[in-house]
Amino acid sequence: MVAPLVVEQLVKDYRVPGRPPFRAVSGVSFSIEERECFGLLGPNGAGKSTSMQCITGFYPPTSGSVSILGYDVHADPRRARAALGVCHQEDTLDTDFTVFDQMVRHASFFGIGAVEAGRKARELLAKFDLSAKIDEPVEALSGGMRRRLQVARALMAEPRLLVLDEPTTGLDPEARRVLWSIIAEFRRGNGAVLLSTHYMEEAERLCDRIAIIHRGKILDCDTPPRLIARHVGTADVAEEIRPGVRWKRPANVEDVYLKLTGIPLSADESETTAEDEEMRPPAETTGGLHR
């Protein structure tokens, strides 16, 4: 069985004229099995989005390789991306089309005919509770609806690998739960998911395995319980939640991250895009590579 995704020694340098190259991703390796949900966890600027851009074939890697169902995404993008669905971190919905038309148009980029695409679009829009908005322009949708539509669009070509880059950022709790159930259903149909997030609850709930990424390197990768047991232990963690108020709670993946990097996830340096990442100074190399 060919793995839906194999990433090997992925390195990505951003080159800015007159400045030394900035290494955003430094030797990242992992693979995802069928039905697996694999999480990339780290603060903004850790290299998650850059890794995602290389994995989808949008950015060329400096070195290393990415294979989707055995096809190199950079050498053979047509075949590799035929099995790929992508939901970007930012809204990439085509505002020139209605909800329905944009689903059909997106399918055309996969070589799917209008009749089949129309049938599939209706089916997906019903599943995502967007049937009532089928003829509406995208601008008429709420933020949560737009996010759902973006995930629905990513499923139009019945992908085997779904790449979700911070899909629930900015969503209310109800919309997040709807998306979580959609991801679960996709996996039941043999789909694999690569999820980037900085929400602990989401990562622990959805992901079979989590890779903790920091300064472009995977510091550790395992199931959430094993990561917690290995780095924090099974005892409750005591913390001060307000001045003078302390409580104990079960250890979570954020504690693992804090232990490994010394930086709380909430201490994101900034909302960072790839363009911002290139403006940062070259990262120091910390930690080792784990698979």
Binding site: Q53, F58, Y59, R79
Partner: protein
């Protein structure tokens, strides 16, 4: 899916939007050159009567109609690619959304350029048609001009896409618009024969792409002798600008 099919799929995305907003498309594509035709061709043409250029005497309407074919190429090609391309790249993120499907970034950018060139070709074809109907252009020459017009449209669409790729904000597109596009529109032989101008201005005008474009169009539509250097300049400008614009947009999007 072959490369040609992929590019055609991207092109059809644009055409679908054009068809959906047909009246908007017709107004923005055809009204402007028609206004120039009426005001300069009929209005100014009635005052000027005839002009002599390159030792050939023609009516001013013939002269300006053939110039407006070039003006339509310039404006439609540049503005669609510059403003439309910037909006699609920066605000709508259309290129980013398509380039993670089986369609590659190279194909997306070809689709964009070919659409921009197609829209400019629609617009200038309308001027050609009116010129032919009015008896100002030769019918055979107008038909022969169609593929040439498409190449010239690609030239100005590439200039627009290059502008979009190099602009940090949509307002920055105004710089080439005011410093390059409008001077070309005014000084490259659309409205008056270049030989009216001082030699220095003529020299500068010949360094800009619109002058050889209009020269080639006049050769085809009015039977002026074809200047081989002008034809060569059009080809060279097109090849260079297509290459540079695609590279610039790719570098802007793909880190």
């Amino acid at each position: 899916m072959s490369t040609c099919q992929a590019i055609a799929t991207v092109w059809r995305r644009y055409f679908a939007i054009y068809k959906k907003n047909l009246w908007f498309g017709i107004v923005t594509t055809f009204v402007e050159p028609l206004l120039y035709l009426v005001s300069f061709g009929v209005g100014v043409g009635g005052l000027v009567g005839a002009v002599t250029t390159e030792s050939i005497r023609i009516t001013y309407r013939q002269f300006v109609f053939s110039g407006i074919v070039g003006q339509a190429l310039l404006f439609q090609g540049f503005f669609e690619a510059a403003y439309g391309g910037f909006v699609r790249m920066y605000y709508q993120k259309v290129f980013q959304a398509i380039a993670v499907t089986p369609v590659t970034m190279s194909e997306v950018l070809w689709g964009e350029l070919l659409w921009d060139a197609s829209k400019a070709t629609f617009s200038s074809s309308a001027v050609l048609l009116i010129g032919a109907i009015c008896g100002d252009f030769s019918i055979a020459g107008s038909l022969l001009a169609l593929p040439v017009i498409f190449i010239c449209s690609l030239l100005f669409a590439s200039l627009g896409l290059l502008t979009a790729a190099r602009s940090s904000t949509i307002d920055e597109i105004s710089y080439p618009q005011f410093l390059l596009i409008f001077p070309m529109f005014l000084f490259c032989g659309v409205f008056f024969p270049l030989d009216q101008m001082p030699a220095v201005i003529q020299g500068i005008a010949w360094l800009l792409p619109l002058t050889p474009v209009i020269s080639v169009i006049r050769s085809l539509t009015l039977g002026f002798p074809l200047k081989p250097l002008a034809a060569l300049a059009v080809i060279a400008w097109t090849v260079i600008l297509v290459r540079v614009a695609r590279r610039a947009m790719r570098d802007r999007l793909v880190k």
